[in-house]
Amino acid sequence: MRFLVQLAVVGFAGATLGLVLNAASPHPARLFNPVYPSSLSSGVQTCGEEPEAVRRVHGHAIMPQAEAVAACNSCTVAFVDARGAAAFAQGHIPSAVHLMPAGHPDEQATIARLGAYTTVVVYDSGGGCGLAEGVADRLAAHGLGDVRILDGSWKEWQAAGGPAQSGACQTCEGTAR
């Protein structure tokens, strides 16, 4: 009996400690907001549907536009813009990060911030330039686990009415070209 009480005390004290730590966290879980799954579930089937094969480029999964729009609206993934600073300043996916060149002093800090997200989605201007693939490879080489490439490009995102914002990135302010 005493042992069961000890177990209950550990469970209760742990849960209470969790609430305290959550309150102290810079990004606390919102306790009264339901949290829904956000990951790509390639194996979970809905009745009557064929499982869709996960397409890959350079070993990175492709994220369909519709899924990316939903993820953008729920702020559940980080977007990385692989285009030039000027194109980024003219318009980009809200909260997208404009990744600075390799070796830039802020590179490590930016990649570390991206590491807080389960999934990172990279996009470019399309046209087969392979910028998104290159940046995705670079992020994966820095240890980011789930790096995906947006299906289509920025132009298609805009054409589909995806959310957008404009303005230069903090690092590129005044240097956009």
Binding site: L7, V10, G14, G18, L21, A29, V35, G115, T119
Partner: protein, 150 residues
């Protein structure tokens, strides 16, 4: 194995196990929102339960880990840890068998769930079994301090 050596091994197992749990929980604290989302991705619990469950889970992990390291109420802490590990193994296995592509949420980073993650949990579960069967080791190098004489 001599009692003193056995004690040292058990002490090592307990402290390492506790430190892993303590660190795993500590790494989640800076972004509990993300951890709640990672918990939801296992698709095992209703969405409304997820935040409370995730927060409680991190708290229990950190407390059990600290108790194991400090040697306080070691048996209940070991059983709680073993229970958590069994739950993790079941959750990970069902996700992998269902083909859910997710971050395991183990150490607050972006580590993808894999069968290696399940294997790591099984090793830690075996460590819990060792502590429950053979004792938890104490902060001493010998069972009895020999009198060295004048």
């Amino acid at each position: 194995m001599k009692p003193a050596e056995k004690n040292l091994v058990l002490l090592f197992v307990r402290v390492v196990l506790g430190a892993v749990f303590f660190y795993a929980a500590l790494a989640k604290i800076p972004n509990m929102e993300l951890f709640a989302e990672e918990t939801a991705n296992y698709r095992l619990l209703p969405a409304a339960w997820i935040p409370f469950f995730a927060v409680s889970l991190a708290g229990v992990e950190i407390l059990a880990g600290a108790m194991l390291v400090a040697g306080v109420l070691v048996r209940p802490a070991t059983i709680v840890t073993a229970g958590l590990l069994v739950a993790f193994i079941i959750a990970l296995s069902q996700a992998l068998l269902r083909g859910i592509n997710l971050s395991c949420g183990c150490f607050g980073g972006a580590e993808l769930a894999s069968w290696q993650t399940v294997g790591r949990d099984l090793v830690m579960l075996a460590a819990c079994g060792t502590l429950l069967k053979w004792g938890h080791g104490t902060w001493r190098l010998r069972n009895k301090a020999p009198y060295s004489g004048a």
